[in-house]
Subunit: 581 residues, 2 copies
Amino acid sequence: MDKLRKYFPIFEWGAEYSSKTFINDLITGVIVTMMLIPQSLAYAQLAGLPAEVGLYASIAPLIMYAIFGTSRTLAVGPVAVGSLMTAAAVAPLAAQGTPEYLGAAIALALISGLMLIVMGLLRLGFFANFLSHPVIAGFITASGLHIATSQLGPLLGIHIHGENLVDLVASIIGNIGNIHLYTAVIGVISLIFLFWVRSELKPLLIKLGLGERAAGMLAKAGPVASLVTAILVVWILRLDDSGVTIVGSVPKGLPEIAIPPFELSLWTSLAVPALLIAIVGYVESISVAMTLAAKRRQRIDPDQELIGLGTANVGSALSGGFPVTGGLSRSVVNFDAGAETPAAGGYTAIGIALTTMFLTPLLFFLPKAVLGAIIIAAVLSLVDVGALKRTFVYSKADFAAMSATMLVTWIKGIEAGLIVGVALSICLHLYRTSRPHIAVVGQIPGTGDFRNVKRHSVVVDPAVLSLRVDESLYFPNARFIEDAINAGVAANPNIRHVILECAAVNHIDISALESLESINKRLSDGGITFHLSEVKGPVMDRLRRSHLPEELAGKIHLTQYDAVASINPELARQTLEWNRG
Amino acid sequence: MDKLRKYFPIFEWGAEYSSKTFINDLITGVIVTMMLIPQSLAYAQLAGLPAEVGLYASIAPLIMYAIFGTSRTLAVGPVAVGSLMTAAAVAPLAAQGTPEYLGAAIALALISGLMLIVMGLLRLGFFANFLSHPVIAGFITASGLHIATSQLGPLLGIHIHGENLVDLVASIIGNIGNIHLYTAVIGVISLIFLFWVRSELKPLLIKLGLGERAAGMLAKAGPVASLVTAILVVWILRLDDSGVTIVGSVPKGLPEIAIPPFELSLWTSLAVPALLIAIVGYVESISVAMTLAAKRRQRIDPDQELIGLGTANVGSALSGGFPVTGGLSRSVVNFDAGAETPAAGGYTAIGIALTTMFLTPLLFFLPKAVLGAIIIAAVLSLVDVGALKRTFVYSKADFAAMSATMLVTWIKGIEAGLIVGVALSICLHLYRTSRPHIAVVGQIPGTGDFRNVKRHSVVVDPAVLSLRVDESLYFPNARFIEDAINAGVAANPNIRHVILECAAVNHIDISALESLESINKRLSDGGITFHLSEVKGPVMDRLRRSHLPEELAGKIHLTQYDAVASINPELARQTLEWNRG
């Protein structure tokens, strides 16, 4: 039963479902539906897919997540970055508008869903940790600007293309003479309206007497309002006859079960993009879920979340949708509107299902320019210039990883940006740990403590070299430490003992073990005794499995004081008792 | 002048050169020449190149290294693993025996030499650290077996081929009926003789009255003796007419200046193999050089060594040779024979030059089977089964990296083996640090020390959760720590304070900083105060550049005792003074 509850969290919250919970969830479901309709249409456009695919991706995935997900407030569905990544993955394989393009997008959702499920079952969630914060922040900011630029095409009524920001900008400049006046007017007015709604409407409504929370909720209906207005304007003035691009006929009715194409070559070429979409989507989703859960002292199970998102994507694929994940803005609305259980997501799914059954004919005259404006307004909030500055001040290495991710994303495209970012953060980490801080330490008079000779006035026995390494000993720094000890000994012919203080050493791998063995051997050949001190319990447990404890010319001492006292007891004791009378 | 000495170490030892040094170096030069002639011919055969190319690679590189290298005893030239890697890199580009094959091998030496020089000038030697000991040991062992197997072809007089061990073995089995009797007899007798020389000759010579050192030196002449004997046997019996493959005519005279082919496509396809050859050669060479230098308390400059090996390879390329590096066995002989300066290498170069000028006609009847036997005898000593066992006992993760390197090398080939090995060691390191040891700590009565509650009987305030993380805080474990703290707090509703003891934290990157900020925020939202303690100096310096110190609900305490005492002074003091009366 515990196992069942673990894999089907629905049994946990389902058991305590009450009519009060139902009302709260239902109200939330209605509000999120109003927000999701324009977003799902817009993100389908961003992914280069027909409008109905966005709606399909907003039904089954929400139901699957309600069953398998562990967050009570996460709102799953199409998101901006995922849609862009879908377009980037599928575009090289088929032309937009063809059944092959749609089939590849569906297959992408299926593959990435299956990958998430497998990672969840094998408890491989730690893979997502390899995306460091600077890489994610750089990637999301870069993608936001890339997406906004790409939507200048529909917004201005020009055809632009390019897999990276540089090409897109060049394409816009080349097409600047082809801007379609009516389209551009609709697009720009929608954009101004959306920005106005975001910053001005809520204070205005409060001034008009509405409560804070109601005003906030109503302000979220801005995109729906712009959508309805634009449809009416285009329909009444018949602007489509003047060349304004409209969505056109959207099939009516619930999605049918889709069988994604099973071709080995297709699956092979989608494997890497599917993995990246899975991991980026998971990272985005889990951080939103954890933040919201902590506010109510609820818990998220990171491995079960992989299964929740995985089944959501498989559900999307089998109902003809494209990759989905938990989105920030909708989840926050879901939380604020009072969602108490994942059932709220289920009610949203019913809302979208009703839309596909009855409202799609109304979308015929919807101008694509408005969808472009909705996307631009949504993604510009992803651009986080403050993070760049904060990172620069805190760490140049992290800043390098962040800016490299951004630049490569803009110049070479989003996949390359992510891969370069991850590789660079790993290399920078290895580089940093490859030259750890090594201090020569001496005894502080009046104490048994040992500190850096450069920062404190300490007592040092001229025949003893005591070094403290501030890092675990492992392959990237094994040779560096050998070299540091050789250099320390070569610089001072009086030295008869070398003590390595290991208080900051959390791990010794076999490369470092072999380095320690060869340091010991070389020092012995030169008549010098090698000691270790302050080795931690788990590290010592492991060392006992090697020959080092027997081979060591000196001993492994419990404390640095013991080590020094075993060599020159008189000096150590005098220093310890200095000034005590 | 110091700069000059740094980049041209020859000025340092050249200034103190004496006639005694000269005699020692000269004797060493003669001994190493005797050893290098058969090896250079054999390794050329292993690389699929004409015999003279091996000799050419043993002249200019030695002189270049004598000028630019920092080791006084390293013997540079063709080595087994480098020759195998050359064959693997060049074979896909051209057929063996063609000028294109030779040109590609020469270009490979040039590219890898230039890469080494650039790495040396930019002080990028740390890249070599990414090759962990288990990966190198696995790779060398796997290559040794691969090389030995590949030489069963010439040894038995059959044509075999394959880029990996599996194919080679299949090829041998398929050709078992084509074994050439005379060739196999020569090969097997040579092999038995070489093994006998190695294990039995030295004790025998000592028994006959020779000194230990002289006996050892003489035993190194085994390969030359087998070479001379085999040439005589084949010549007298004219076994070449019976189908024994011989080296044939080797051009006489010094190498001419070679211009390696400059084609972009060739250079592009050689880039990755050249980098791998450069790094593997460097790692092999530097560990030999450091071991020998330490025995005489000399120093090796790792960055200058890159330049020394780089110029040696460029020298090899420009004189028509293939990639070279510092080899273990020849260097040890060089050291034991009494080489005092790199001039010994120069005298060896003169010895090989004289060989190319006068002795090449004598090599006409040399059977290739003997070269195969020399290679097999040399490389089987590379196979280190003990390392496998030691690694298995010490660490399963390191053992996994080692066996993956070996298996992939055997199944997919040497490049794939190396790359998989490096990638796996990095992933395993990241995985290990991604779930660090986190201990709940409490105060030991009678002291101000704090230890793991599971291992010691300690005093804990029920309102305080004190956690010690035994790892630096950085992106692979940032989320793990967030989750551990959330779990600790969710499990115990009495907790009002969380203290994170950072004594083992050597670094906090921006991902971990943002995690700490969000932990602080979430705990605050739940009415819990978050503190840090025992933050090290360099880590604290960096934290001061962030907003954490101001935003933190609690404080950053110097010691864990201070932290606890600031929350519950009475309990902390009572525990400290427990049993003192």
